[in-house]
Symmetry: C2
DNA sequence: ATCAATATCGATAACTGTTACTATTATTAT
DNA sequence: ATAATAATAGTAACAGTTATCGATATTGAT
């Protein structure tokens, strides 16, 4: 894997924000500091960074969102603005053990997403 | 909402299976008993049935899956075959209260998905 | 520093999953 | 029966994403 200024910029931009932008949102932000970065480059690097575990992909239907923090944690998906925010509460890994007791699956991870209305959209 | 044989067939097929098929998988099954049902009809009715709360849509990236049981419950997403199965364990609604304590969001629901290898794919 | 090998780039075409459109058909209330 | 209209099959269009390609940038060896 070779170094690239575009990949650096993508990772830096993503990590500097606490929202969880889509590829498209990220693209338009990056255009302001790197005016001819291309959409393909954004998508390619988001996939690369996801594969190498440096960021996290969030799929809730519609466009994927991306999180600069690759450590598993929980999110709020706001049904009003469609944005995604962190919920800072302790991980509940015990649920994975529970789930293995109730099935014959080998469980490696879990994804917990809360659905509701974010602080902003309540006003 | 008028009655329709196609919608009946879609709902019946979906409820009779314990896997959680995609629109495409459902379409090809239905073609065998209703040879000129169209893809548009499948998609349109899956959306209608989701809106009226008769079924549930599951989005994990890639094609959506559908569940004939609209009551919230937990799933396993197998990373090997990409299929989705039920995990029959008790709902943990307390987590929603926890999440509200840790944020200013108004939470109405939560989606919990376990990631791993299903029984079939372990062999 | 130069060079060869090749990963990455920007641009654009292609692809997948889904929704929208349209003329026709089926259902329903009168 | 008839009129009103929801639903259909078929197809075009769309959104999000991935693949292709010739040009460019990075890297390690000389």
């Amino acid at each position: 894997m070779k170094h690239s200024a575009q990949r650096d910029a993508i990772l830096e931009e993503l990590c500097s924000r606490k929202d969880h932008p889509t590829a498209d949102e990220l693209y338009w932000s990056l255009r302001q500091i790197m005016p001819n970065i291309s959409m393909g480059t954004v998508y390619r690097n988001l996939s690369l960074l996801t594969e190498t575990g440096q960021i996290m992909r969030l799929s809730y239907g519609g466009a994927d969102h991306f999180d600069g923090n690759p450590q598993n944690h929980y999110h709020l998906h706001c049904t009003s603005c469609n944005r995604v925010y962190d919920i800072e509460m302790p991980m509940c890994s015990k649920m994975e053990e529970d789930a293995e007791k109730h099935s014959k699956a080998k469980i490696t991870n879990h994804i917990l997403t809360f659905i509701g209305i974010c602080e902003n959209c309540q006003n």
